[in-house]
Symmetry: C2
């Protein structure tokens, strides 16, 4: 059968991994695609730069035109990243009749509508399994495996760098700075880790999953997000003491109707988003405290995992390496095989992602989203403090689930003690309103620290 | 677009679940399939029997011909089960030009070659996501998501009944008989649970997964299998003491070359089964002792999970409900949507399952498969016993990793004590050869008990 012609656009870590699979396992891939997958061009910024000797020199070019104008190239793999040059390259490739496989979550999360519309207009397809969860076939699970379901919730550990850092802080008691340095030495974190540790990368991935699962194009600015750089070792210790583990989660869940306070995640989603329901979608990226035996709490190091609840299937979980050269290349090449078979094009068309379809699901105002919370206040060790704090919570109708206050230690801060409070479920807005009041109390000596608590 | 016409063949628990999804969520499913999914016939053995009132009476028939001869029916869902009437029905449906969705693992595991060949001959497709792992999209993961990989190993908890029973025995210290009775009350176990508890059901599912992952048609008789009915509460306790949990696993893994003893699972698979490697496939269904924090050890109750290692993607895991009405219906309806879109037909053709393709992978003789083992001997509490046992193991070149022997208890068996030995990795055949020798020792008072130990 006619070979399937492929161009690589970008040849960094992931691109080299894709080239490796294509060039080292041609028989395996041809058997699975029903035709040979042939690497025909590798577009790079600097053609003079030394490359993996595996890649034939004559394939390398600095000019995207050589792909756009080559009728023997059926699909291009965009692994440049970012939303500048890559965005225009993807649009040009689609316009030139090339199907596009991309691992670029920033591009899809911020320009998904434009890119998908271009694919539909030109009759070309976009496949993006590698954009979320590395080698885990999570896009396929949502787009195909679970299509009979209304998805009720999804919770993911979607950033391996953050999970590696939190694992180190939790298991070895190391500081944020020390584990970050180790992650950088091991290649799990970039020299500038900002987009990973501040939750932006996870928010990009959550926007993509939410689009598939709920049909809603979520502007990045609508995803409340907190990162992990501010997490104090003390809170990791206290959470352990309470039987919890802190994980950076990207979460989205449907709530029935809108606005009413005091519901809870587990109970709320049941009737939401059915054929007639509509419903409101709550979503955020945040460090969340999970019970220490919850499935996602057990995911260690640089692994990713996604927990998905559907109305027919119930709870499902998908786990694997969320980044790295070969896991990501595994997803890219699976997409290429899908396109070579003709299946990827059908999936692209059937999903109609980021299209103008009418959405029944709307975004829930973040302040109305109910959650349990962990709260740590540094307070003076004197009578009446707990009463003052409890009064503020009561005033906002937030009830207390448990309290820990240890005896004061000797030392310079001997009369300042941490007061740890776990609340019952309350609207996020009400809870956040209490924080300003705590910080104005004379007996509270440092800004309050809080984390949502998972079910 | 033209509706996609569907017939249900069989209307028990799973069939009713499929009908429920089709009839209660027509808009949702039409949006995802790009066309309406219409239930047009329900074939049952006894049309007079009362059914769920949701199913329109006029759809019910006792005659398969009404499906075979109806050109408005595109696909049939076979949820009758078994290999008798169902086998002929599936062959007739394929011959009549109907695509078939089936949850029937026994049929595929024992008549896969015949059924798939019929599909190819008649240009019709077979989809079977629901046959393994209930609602978990595990067939799609192997057939699509991981196609860039050579699969190196797969390990599954594939029988929810057994996992429910083992969870109860482990967590509550209950006896096999008591938890089985509870499973039957809750509908997790059939009145006659034989095919579940003896490992046959898991072996059926393993044969299907092995066909997709390794391209090898494995006759059921070639899968060594042990069930859970003989598991003694005592061994569950001792395994806990050693830091292990007993799970019924279905496992398959590639070994490089053949025959040499003393390799180990984790190290062995690395170079096996590449484009040039071939390799030998070891597989079995057995109660296996897993370290108590291993991912599969944490899977509780009636849940299923499959741990898959690929040469590019590394370790991945898939988890969810492995049985039950709506999880299984979720998988069946996903297959129907796949077929309505035209994707299922492409998958069926590209996989060429149970075809006459030349296999480079061969079955490894079970006796040569290396494993660690747990061994319990009931021995007389007198000097020299450990020496005799150790001498037999040494004679077979099996080295001991750890030993537990508790002090004798007072009571009728006061002078009989359990001797627990954990071995290092050894060829299964060598280990099994020691058992007969132990049982012939005067100091050993009961048949020896053993379980393989996972990595």
């Amino acid at each position: 059968m006619k070979p399937y012609g492929i161009a690589l656009v970008g040849c960094g870590t992931v691109g080299s991994g894709v080239a490796k699979l294509l060039l080292e396992h041609p028989q395996r891939l041809a058997a699975r695609a029903g035709r040979p997958l042939e690497l025909r061009r590798v577009v790079v910024k600097d053609p003079a730069k030394p490359r993996d000797p595996l890649i034939p020199k004559e394939l390398i070019t600095g000019n995207l035109r050589e792909v756009l104008n080559d009728p023997s190239i059926d699909a291009a793999v965009e692994v440049v990243g970012g939303t500048g040059w890559a965005r225009q390259a993807v649009l040009d490739l689609l316009a030139a009749g090339k199907d596009v496989v991309t691992a670029n979550k920033a591009l899809l999360a911020t320009h998904g509508a434009e890119v998908f519309e271009a694919g539909r207009r030109h009759g070309t397809a976009i496949a993006f399994e590698a954009s979320v969860g590395g080698g885990i076939p999570i896009i396929a699970a949502l787009a195909q495996g679970l299509t009979a379901n209304q998805i009720l919730s999804l919770q993911g550990i979607l950033n391996g760098t953050c999970n590696f850092i939190l694992t180190g802080m939790s298991e070895r008691g190391a500081s944020y700075a020390d584990v970050l340095a180790e992650a950088q030495r091991r290649g799990y974190a970039e020299a500038d880790p900002t987009l990973d540790v501040d939750g932006t990368d996870a928010a990009h991935k959550l926007a993509i999953l939410a689009q598939i699962a709920f049909g809603l194009a979520v502007p990045l600015a609508s995803i409340p997000r907190r990162g992990i750089a501010q997490i104090d070792q003390a809170d990791i210790r206290y959470s352990k003491e309470l039987g919890y583990t802190i994980k950076l989660l990207a979460e989205a869940w449907l709530e029935p109707g809108g606005g009413e306070a005091g519901g809870d995640k587990a109970g709320g989603g049941d009737k939401a988003g059915g054929d007639h329901g509509g419903g409101q979608l709550a979503l955020h990226v945040a460090p969340v405290m999970l019970r220490h035996l919850a499935p996602l709490a057990l995911v260690r190091d640089a692994y990713n995992a996604i927990f998905i609840v559907g109305d027919a299937v119930g709870s499902t979980l998908y786990y694997g390496r969320g980044a790295g050269q070969m896991p990501t290349a595994s997803a890219v090449v699976a997409d290429l095989i899908d396109l070579a078979i003709g299946r990827g094009q059908l999936t692209f068309r059937s999903l109609a992602l980021w299209s103008e379809q009418a959405h029944r699901v709307t975004l829930r105002p973040p302040g109305t989203v109910p959650s349990r919370f962990y709260l740590r206040l540094m307070v003076e060790d004197r009578p009446g403090v707990l009463a003052e704090v409890a009064r503020i919570l009561a005033h906002h109708h937030i009830s207390i689930s448990s309290v820990i206050q240890h005896e004061a230690m000797d030392g310079p801060d001997g009369d300042i003690v941490p007061l740890i409070i776990m609340t019952h479920s309350a609207p996020t807005g009400s809870f956040l309103a209490t924080l300003g009041e705590f910080d104005r109390l004379d007996c509270v000596t440092a800004p309050s620290v809080y984390y949502p608590v998972g079910d």
